[in-house]
Symmetry: C2
Subunit: 128 residues, 2 copies
């Protein structure tokens, strides 16, 4: 991988994500960063989001609709609303423990475990 050079745009993107806990999409990041860098392009936002998630500084959340990004790289799990697409962090009384549930008959490399609950969020229930 090429040597990483400093960029003010990338800093701004990362700072924005650190300050948010609602898992913004690339468009939401773009809308914000544009306040500070009015000429930044969506391509640059996507490039930096990919780069940051490749080097592990942020986490990319693949779900229905556009990808979302999370500056919290600690293990934690999400609820995704099938209705509005929002993604919330879940808190557990007892943290999920996957140590006893390692898969058999599998010889690849596991890099990440994703636990995602989906359904309908409170806001969407009220709307309907």
């Amino acid at each position: 991988m090429a040597a990483l050079k400093h960029s003010r745009q990338r800093d701004c993107i990362k700072e924005f994500l650190i300050g948010r806990h609602d898992h913004p999409t690339a468009d939401m990041v773009y809308a914000h960063v544009r306040e500070e860098f009015p000429h930044i392009s969506l391509g640059t936002v996507y490039r930096n989001l990919s780069l940051l998630s490749e080097i592990g500084e942020i986490r990319k959340i693949t779900c229905n609709g556009p990808d979302r990004f999370d500056a919290n790289t600690m293990p934690h799990y999400h609820f995704t609303c099938n209705c509005c697409g929002s993604v919330e962090d879940l808190e557990f009384e007892q943290a999920p423990d996957f140590s006893g549930v390692l898969p058999m008959n599998f010889s690849g490399i596991i890099e990440q475990i994703n636990l995602d609950f989906n359904g309908t969020c409170e806001a969407c229930i009220k709307k309907s």
Copy 2:
């Protein structure tokens, strides 16, 4: 929801998925169904895949790259390869039990629990 009418194309799509355990994409379904219905359109395939997953006859797997579809609607969990995008079913020595890990501070409706391991599959390890 409107009354469902019978369609041979939809049957063919579902039969195909039942016979496969590799979680085909819409394109793969299209390629197969075209053997029997040479004039079927990709739009029809997408429409039927959405419809089947809405009524719970198949399951849609959202991952990096194109969505994948699974006729196995029983609870089970996947491994997704970050490299080639393949999705495999995982077998566990001890089935994951989420009864003790229900989320607190959450008041929406949970419809489904997805547990997905991702990393690099055996085939991609060998290639590199």
